[in-house]
């Protein structure tokens, strides 16, 4: 780091240097890869069936504690299920659902936000009134209605989560587009005869990427919790399929007597969110040519 700082001080800015993979990037990618790999390989890695109840061994602490058992490294829950196995399996649902629902929400929200901000007028009015409606109705309520009508399945949960959270993207993108479309390079591109789709994709969207990345990383954390809220209401992924959010909510009842029930899924969520945030942070800088010095 110090070498680079001295170099930039001494010399005029070098023309183009690829962003160096920083600690943030390495950490973020490593954690996410490990998480995804362990989720995908859960059936091979997990020592136990995640739904197998062993009531004689209920509420055992992690292996390093006095009452801990070696075969349950992270302890057992109130039904005697192995926490490590449940976290491994839970990652499949939690990561899969949150990533796909964020992707869905981002696609919907960015598309609609771009159109609203760029075309203005009636398009804007209609899209933003829909956004208002989504904001006015509590999203959980909306999700409840939809899942109730369609029935709770993994796909439906993803669809509902994406379809209720796109407004976050739409609002932020629209606000950004409103200022970008007035910048002279957009007027200039129009004056060179570019068509609207090209203006949007090449001139407006790339310049609105920063807030989109930030919102996406925040939403990812939110989606994990959102999924558990839906599960809690009986509308999400159905027990006994383990999910991190559900484990967290479940462990809450035992927090005073058995801290490991809520702590380990909580750590898994935290680590994922941290990794995604660091990665998003790095991505934002890496994509901004102004910071490539």
């Amino acid at each position: 780091m110090t070498d680079a700082a001295v170099a930039t001080d001494a010399l005029p800015a070098p023309a183009r240097v690829r962003p160096r993979p920083s600690f943030r990037a390495v950490f973020g990618i490593t954690v996410l890869l490990l998480m995804s790999a362990s989720a995908l390989l859960a059936p091979r890695l997990a020592p136990w069936d995640p739904s197998r109840q062993m009531l004689l061994k209920r509420l055992r602490p992690p292996a390093w504690e006095a009452r801990g058992l070696r075969e349950h490294p992270l302890g057992t829950d109130h039904l005697g299920r192995d926490i490590l196995s449940r976290i491994l399996y839970g990652g499949r649902v939690s990561l899969g659902v949150s990533l796909s629902s964020v992707a869905l929400a981002a696609t919907l929200g960015v598309g609609l936000g771009l159109s609203a901000g760029f075309f203005g007028g009636r398009t804007d009015a209609i899209i933003m009134r829909v956004v208002d409606v989504f904001l006015a109705v509590p999203y959980i309520l909306l999700a409840m209605g939809v899942v109730f009508a369609l029935g709770p399945s993994l796909l439906n949960v993803i669809l509902v989560m994406g379809a209720t959270r796109w407004v976050q993207f739409a609002r932020i993108v629209r606000a950004d587009v409103l200022s970008i479309r007035e910048r002279e390079f957009v007027v200039g591109a129009r004056a060179r005869g570019n068509r609207a789709p090209r203006l949007l994709l090449r001139h407006v969207l790339p310049n609105a990427l920063t807030p989109i990345i930030v919102v996406a990383t925040l939403e990812l954390a939110f989606m994990i919790i959102y999924e558990s809220a839906l599960s809690f209401l009986g509308l999400g992924v159905q027990p006994p399929t383990p999910t991190w959010g559900w484990m967290l909510a479940d462990g809450r009842n035992y927090i005073a007597t058995a801290w490991w029930l809520a702590t380990f899924p909580g750590l898994a969520i935290m680590l994922t969110v941290l990794a995604v945030n660091l990665l998003g942070d790095w991505l934002r800088d890496a994509l901004d040519p102004r910071l490539r010095l």
Binding site: E184, F185, G188, R192, G193, N194, P289, R290
Partner: protein, 321 residues
């Protein structure tokens, strides 16, 4: 058969509908630009210069709209064209350069990338487009163009950015270049370089230029003819030499007296008293009357028409001689 002028604007009227009344930003502006001619459009801020140029491209931002008039480019009425035909005109036949070199290039693509994209829109392959980008940068005299073609706008100085802008506007080989205060944001030495470059390119390519500026120095440097615009109307129009020697309209005279001059060293700069009228309620009679030093009674009743005093030199003032 008489060849029509490259651009003929007549009776152009551009309005902005606002909650507090209609603003007549451009009110009955007429002028022509011949092939290979540089016309300066001069006036103070808010007088309708930029709106005129955006009207020609039909890019007036809403709620503005061209309410009346005709804009003929090589005899074709631009106002009658459909959106797609107009888009093709913008791409190929009219180029535009803006004032602010900081914001008129897309910050997330390199300049070469942007020029190549514009070249690509007019056919040819990727490598050809990239080669063309380098050529264009050489044409606008960007030093070591081959290396700088990959630079991003923030890595360039204001002058280089303005050159890149020019390359971008010229890549399609337009017959008409609209330059909206292209040197205003630059410092004086760079201004001179850009003006030199513009003049050379204009002469080499036989291009017509509509030069929008508030700087009479720029007009003197570059333009063949000049139109002085005040509160949305042209008040005086004629050959540059003539206007500088013998300005007829009191507003033009005022503008010329505002220029710093060595003979007035040490004395305060001259300025025209008052402010331009509110364009929602233009006064009856001459718009300049409230600020005019030579105003007579009839000025406040009848709006003077632009009349030709000498061949090619018109003025809208009954008082001036």
């Amino acid at each position: 058969m008489i060849v029509p002028p490259l651009l003929e604007v007549s009776g152009l009227r551009t309005e902005f509908e606002t909650a507090r009344g209609t603003i007549l930003a451009v009110d009955g502006v007429s002028f022509t630009i011949e092939r290979g001619e540089v016309l300066g459009l001069v006036g103070e801020s808010g007088c309708g210069k930029s709106v005129t140029s955006l009207s020609i491209l039909r890019l007036v931002p809403p709620p503005g709209r061209v309410a009346a008039g005709r804009i003929l480019l090589e005899g074709e009425d631009l106002l009658a064209k459909d959106a797609e035909a107009m888009r093709r005109v913008r791409g190929a036949r009219i180029g535009m350069v803006f004032q602010e070199p900081m914001t008129s290039l897309n910050p997330v693509f390199s300049i070469g990338d942007q020029i190549a994209a514009a070249a690509l829109a007019h056919g040819g392959g990727r490598t050809a487009a990239w080669r063309r980008a380098v050529e264009m940068l050489q044409l606008v005299q960007v030093p070591s163009a081959r290396e700088r073609v990959g630079d991003y706008p923030h890595q360039l100085s204001g002058g280089l950015r303005q050159r890149a802008m020019l390359a971008l506007a010229l890549v399609s080989g337009p017959r008409l270049l609209i330059a909206d205060e292209p040197t205003t944001a630059l410092d004086v030495t760079i201004q001179a370089q850009i003006l030199d470059l513009l003049r050379r390119l204009q002469a080499e390519r036989g291009m017509s230029v509509l030069m929008i500026t508030h700087d009479l120095g720029v007009v003197a440097e570059l333009c063949h003819r000049v139109a002085v615009i005040y509160a949305g109307r042209i008040v005086e129009m004629g050959p540059v030499a003539r206007i500088f020697e013998r300005p007829l309209h009191p507003y033009t005279r005022g503008l010329l007296r505002c220029l710093p001059h060595p003979s007035r060293f040490g004395r305060p700069l001259f300025s025209i008293e008052g402010v331009p009228p509110d364009l929602r309620r233009t006064p009856v009679g001459c718009r300049f009357a409230p600020r005019c030093p030579d105003v007579i009674e009839s000025c406040r009743r009848v709006e003077p028409a632009l009349t030709e005093r000498e061949p090619g030199h018109s003025v809208a003032c009954p008082v001036s001689t």
